[in-house]
């Protein structure tokens, strides 16, 4: 009998680690490292899913979330939308298997990409309470109710029960019910804050949150959905070596020429020929047969060759009008200015920056300005200081716009700053998806937008100051008039009241002229 070698013994113990199992051990990567953040993440994933599903189907989103405590540290979460629903046969995989989704391989601006979101929530629920999740869905026909769990070792859905109900009202959508361990707070980095910013970025959505401390309702501000972003092929400048390898392996093209022109945007026949020449590869070589060195040469050539920038209709900005309306409503500010920059490109990825500044009104005086960061309409609540968007703000000199600011800090004043970064690929600094990486092109665009908005805000602030000055002047005269009238009356023995009235008439005439001038300018 041949003795088993150590290597053979070790290989016998080796087995595949399922993605679900991996994430069970690394739940912080998905945003579940503590109970406060976990609570927020579950709500966030449900909302992101619902917003994506409804807008893609051209439906104005109606989202209801309820979160009620079942005991001291457990909550029952019910999230319901009016989306298109999920086909019965796809439900087990759509909700019970990691990395199963339609979005990972395409380049288009969307909220989630990796297919991890809602699965993470289900898995977290299962890990902390051991209870199954209940999915209710309909595509307008029958209603299907699934009770299921995820088989962590196999990364497979495990259906506990499946019932079918009649659907006389033709309801469509998805309702998810799960129980989690969590902690609810209402300050910064909380669910209410997240919902508020989500409402600003998605003013066409109607969201009701029935939380532990009562109901929050975010009304629909506009009744139109934004333009659907188009899907684009990757631009050669933005393709990493690993991705190129994957695309090469998966392509149906028979020649390199065909591969380059059909799998990438902005590559025509001439550009494809140039790439092949630079990479010293035959145009009719089979893409699947390239060896490692050849792929490296191809990748290098793709970065060098001169190409037109990628198309930008794959982006869906909020737009200046929508931003202004939503922002004004949620902040209670007196004045809002919004700027949408033209699309730009970083490393072959189209992106677009939008900035909103809300000033005055209900916003607190003499405090550091609040910063709302949004990536593809999703609020980023954590890691503010590591984010390129924050850096762009602290790098901008707001003192030029009549606001106070210490060097390298956020400005101070009754101000909220909103920055929306829209791109087919958001360069997050980590899996937690809370901070945007520092690409010079991105920081530059954000600063340009901030400066443009800042100039407009400065105009308003100066107008306000002028108006306040005028008010102040009027108050001064009004304060002194009784004393002057009384003194004049003593000197001349004339009636004080008559003198008082005459002086007050004069003040009115004098300030009325000036006020109408002011309001003309403001209009």
């Amino acid at each position: 009998m041949v003795e088993e070698t150590i290597a053979e013994k070790m290989s016998r113990d080796m087995k595949e680690v399922s993605v679900a199992e991996f994430f069970e051990k690394n739940r912080h990567l998905l945003g579940y490292e503590n109970s406060t953040k976990a609570f927020l993440t579950v709500i966030k994933e449900a909302i992101d899913n619902s917003l994506d599903a409804t807008t893609e189907a051209g439906i104005l989103p109606d989202i209801k979330i309820s979160a009620k405590p079942t005991n001291a540290d457990r909550f029952k979460i019910i999230a319901e939308d009016n989306g298109p629903g999920v086909v019965e046969s796809k439900v087990p995989f759509a909700f019970g298997k990691f990395l199963y989704g339609s979005k990972f391989h395409r380049l288009r601006q969307s909220r989630g990409v990796q297919g991890l979101g809602i699965h993470g929530a289900i898995l977290y629920s299962q890990l902390t309470t051991g209870k199954p999740v209940e999915i209710t869905t309909s595509i307008g026909k029958d209603i299907h109710i699934f009770e299921m769990m995820i088989d962590v070792t196999k990364n497979e859905p495990h259906i506990i029960s499946h019932t079918v109900q009649k659907n006389p009202n033709k309801w469509h959508g998805v309702k998810i019910e799960l129980e989690i361990e969590g902690r609810f707070i209402e300050r910064a980095q909380s669910v209410p804050e997240y919902l508020k910013q989500t409402a600003i970025a998605n003013p066409y959505a109607h969201i009701i949150f029935d939380g532990p401390n009562g109901k929050l309702e975010f009304e629909r501000v506009v009744k139109e959905l934004p333009r659907q972003p188009k899907e684009i092929k990757p631009h050669p400048y933005g393709v990493e070596l690993g991705l190129l390898r994957r695309i090469l392996a998966g392509t149906k093209s028979k020649t390199l020429l065909n591969f380059l022109t059909s799998e990438f945007s902005r590559v025509g026949r001439r550009s494809a020929e140039q790439i092949c020449k630079l990479a010293k590869l035959e145009l009719n070589k089979k893409p699947q047969q390239l060896v490692h060195e050849e792929i490296e040469r191809l990748h290098k050539a793709m970065q060098i060759v001169k190409l037109v920038a990628p198309p930008t209709d794959c982006l869906s900005p909020l737009g200046e009008n929508l931003m202004t309306e939503g922002f004004k409503k949620e902040t209670g500010a007196e004045y809002v200015v919004a700027v949408t920059r033209p699309p730009s490109v970083y490393r072959g990825n189209p992106f677009q920056v939008e900035v909103g500044l809300a000033y005055g009104g209900n916003l607190p005086q003499n405090q550091t300005a609040q910063l709302f960061r949004l990536a593809n309409k999703v609020p980023l609540l954590y890691h503010q200081s590591d984010c390129a968007l924050t850096e762009a703000v602290t790098d901008t000199d707001f003192r030029r716009y009549d606001l106070s600011q210490s060097q390298g800090q956020l400005p101070v004043g009754p101000l909220t700053i909103l920055i929306h970064f829209a791109s087919v690929w958001v360069p997050f600094t980590s899996e937690g998806k809370q901070a945007i990486a520092n690409y010079p092109e991105i920081v530059r665009e954000v600063k340009l937008a901030l400066q443009d908005a800042g100039r407009k805000l400065a105009g308003y602030i100066r107008q306000q100051n002028k108006f306040r000055d005028r008010q102040f002047r009027r108050q001064v005269f009004e304060r002194y008039i009784p004393v002057v009238a009384e003194s004049l009356s003593k000197l001349t023995n004339k009636d004080a009241k008559t003198i008082l009235n005459k002086l007050q008439d004069m003040i009115k005439k004098k300030t009325e002229v000036k006020e109408s001038e002011g309001s003309k300018k403001e209009a």
Binding site: F472, Y480, S487, T492
Partner: protein, 357 residues
């Protein structure tokens, strides 16, 4: 005084007229700063020039002062009507009040109401005394003099160690007996008391007056009346520093801020006795001097530019203050011995006629 009352009423009527016509009400007030003060070398007096500034009510920068001027004017009219007198301090407290629904006062400090009174004096060409307002009392006098004040006979030689406190209003005093060869005006009270204790005035037939710092209007008017009515020389004895020299110039020529009444307050023939820098050297007082402060030097530099300090001897004295960066106070002379001033310094100075003019 009827004329005063009329002037106050006219001011009110003129302003009412402005209002009736829909014009921004204003008062003309002559400017009281160095730029509008003229030194007349013939009469040896500072007089006010003819520059004036309009103070408007509907102008944020003027409104408060305008309001204050009328508040004071109305108060003065009431004093006239009831024939009452009061002090500047009283006026301040009588008129200080807080506006309803605000933190603002009509006047915050007396230093705001005092200049308003002077503004009114200048604008209406009336003396403060005629407005029935008295300044704070400051200054004392001793000497072989008998006066009558409000029906009382007062003998300045029989008032003990304190002497007679000079009142604000000197106009109604009559001199019954004046036996003196000269008037010695002393800046510091301590030096005055030293001289009084040594009976300096008796032995030297002098009238001793202390101004106790910057001379009050009453003290200046008293010096002027005694000097002119009895033809007495006036010698001024102050600290050796820019402020001391300015006290002398105020007694002699009048002051910048009250240039409009120099003719009633100035004593052009007054002479400066000391202390001078030459005295410091001659009487060996160097060890009693102290270091001059930055403000002393600055003040001396300013005064070198004044037209009435242009004589070479004054320029030399001011320059020595700046160059040597020292000053001396009258009190410090006691260091030379308690009787140094009375028995050595003053007799020598007066005998040798060592004065600056």
């Amino acid at each position: 005084m009827k004329e005063v009352k009329k002037k106050l009423e006219d001011l009110g009527e003129k302003t009412l007229n402005d209002i009736e016509k829909g014009e921004n009400p204003s008062i003309d007030i002559p400017i009281r700063s160095l730029s509008n003060v003229v030194y007349d070398s013939k009469t040896k007096m500072l007089t006010i020039g003819n520059k004036s500034a309009k103070r408007y009510f509907f102008n944020v920068a003027h409104a408060k002062k305008f309001m204050q001027s009328f508040l004071v004017a109305a108060f003065c009219k009431e004093l006239q009507d009831q024939n009452l007198h009061t002090s500047l301090r009283d006026l301040f407290y009588a008129l200080k009040r807080t506006f309803p629904n605000s933190q603002e006062n009509t006047f915050d400090e007396q230093s705001e109401s005092d200049p308003t009174v002077v503004d009114l004096e200048v604008a209406l060409d009336i003396l403060r005394e005629q407005l029935h307002l008295n300044a704070d009392v400051r200054g004392r006098v001793v000497g072989n003099v008998v006066i009558e004040d409000r029906g009382d006979l007062v003998d300045w030689s029989k008032l003990g160690s304190g002497g007679w406190a000079i009142p604000s209003n000197i106009e109604d005093i009559t001199f019954k007996k004046v036996k003196a060869d000269y008037i010695l005006v002393i800046e510091k009270n301590a030096a005055f008391e030293r001289l009084h204790e040594d009976k300096f005035w008796q032995r030297n037939k002098a009238i001793l007056i202390t101004t106790q710092g910057q001379p009050a209007r009453g003290t200046r008017r008293l010096i002027q009346r005694l000097a002119t009515e009895f033809n007495l020389p006036v010698f001024v004895f102050t600290d050796l520093d820019a402020y001391g020299l300015y006290i002398y110039s105020v007694i002699k020529y009048g002051s910048i801020s009250l240039a409009h009444v120099s003719d009633r307050l100035g004593t052009p023939h007054a002479k400066f006795l000391g202390l001078t820098m030459d005295d410091v050297d001659k009487f060996n007082l160097k060890s009693f001097t102290i270091r001059a402060e930055e403000v002393d030097i600055k003040r001396a530099q300013e005064m070198m530019k004044y037209k009435w300090f242009q004589k070479p001897e004054w320029q030399r004295l001011l320059k020595s203050l700046i160059d040597r960066k020292i000053k001396a106070e009258l009190e410090s002379l006691s260091g030379k011995g308690l009787k140094f001033i009375t028995e050595e310094y003053l007799p020598a100075k007066i005998k040798n006629k060592e004065f600056l003019d």
